[in-house]
């Protein structure tokens, strides 16, 4: 594949980097990333991956844009209120970079569709806002041997980790099962500072890009935590849990399944 003059100009700041170069940019253009959730985390991740020239970006979300989303979900604008989030996200991504392909999935991601959804992608970004979805994505990616970036944000805090197939640890190694509904506050109940999605979602995009170009150290075996009030990043070493129900030596989870969700949190 030869680069057009326009591509050479568009991606010049990438291609000048020795870690990216022509080869890395070619890899980005040929890569496929799925973003689950077009919200606080998914918005910056989608924008940066589109700008980076990731060839195919899948975006899954069942909701419409709400006015209360706009404090942090920078991929949507005020005139988008009421529009399907995946449509609004697609328009923003295509506006930044018309040469990428965007696949939209206006659906909740559940056990009955996740396997098919992740199958055609190289890397998955968890930008969801609830524990049932986070555990589902973990299980499906472990079982489907897909690398993914997990993240969570609340108030002035955020954290993320990256799972690599066969290397682990996975999210379930750290947290063996979801907390009961309403035991741990959600952003809707507790709030979240808007820029937190920007910080952590951009770091998820960074992990995807590094994975695709094959450079640097991924957050595999590490949980990166960010406390904005103290302005402190910490990298916590994560061991594998041999007794993990999905990636351990004797797994009991052999197919993705849905946890019940707190009714008030079905809509993000």
């Amino acid at each position: 594949m030869a680069f057009s003059n326009e591509q050479l100009e568009r991606y010049s700041r990438h291609m000048i980097l020795k870690e990216v170069g022509v080869k890395g940019q070619k890899r980005l253009l040929e890569s496929k990333v799925l973003i689950i959730g077009a919200g606080g985390l998914g918005a910056p991740a989608a924008l940066y991956l589109a700008a980076a020239g990731v060839g195919v970006i899948g975006i899954a979300d069942a909701d419409d844009v709400d006015l209360s989303n706009l404090q942090r979900q920078v991929i949507h604008t005020t005139p988008d209120v009421g529009k399907a989030k995946v449509r609004s996200a697609e328009e923003s991504m295509k506006a930044i970079n018309p040469e990428i392909t965007v696949h939209t999935y206006r659906t909740y991601v559940l056990a009955n569709n996740i396997g098919q959804l992740i199958a055609e992608y190289d890397f998955i970004i968890d930008g969801t806002d609830n524990f049932p979805a986070k555990f589902l994505i973990n299980d499906a990616c472990v079982l489907g041997k897909k690398p993914f970036s997990h993240a969570g944000i609340i108030r002035f805090q955020g954290q993320l980790m990256t799972y690599l197939p066969g290397q682990g640890p996975c999210y379930r190694c750290v947290f063996s099962s979801p907390p009961p509904p309403d035991a741990v506050p959600t952003c809707r109940q507790a709030g979240v500072i808007g820029a937190m999605g920007g910080v952590i979602g951009s770091l998820q995009a960074m992990e995807a890009v590094k994975y695709i170009i094959g450079q640097g150290e991924l957050l595999c075996g590490s949980l990166l935590t960010y406390d904005a009030l103290n302005m402190e990043f910490r990298k916590i070493k994560l061991p594998r849990r041999d007794s993990c129900a999905v990636c351990g030596s004797q797994p009991t989870i052999i197919a993705p399944f849905d946890y019940e969700q707190a009714a008030c949190e079905v809509k993000g």
Binding site: G39, L41, D126, F131, G152, Q157, C173, C187, K237, P239
Partner: protein, 68 residues
Amino acid sequence: MNITVTGSTKEYPQGLTVAQLIQLEKVATPEYVTVSINDEFILSATFAEKTLNEGDHVEFMYFMGGGR
């Protein structure tokens, strides 16, 4: 004895258990915190009897469910 908890080293009483440390450090959701000592996960069922030793590195990991 000195223990490093979430990156800062402080003096703690001898024979301190993980459950007592969780209380001392005012962990917000003690029932749902994941704990590692020297990069090994500790089963939550053993928090009450697991004692800490001089030089241990303890980390707390919290559920963060938000994202959209």
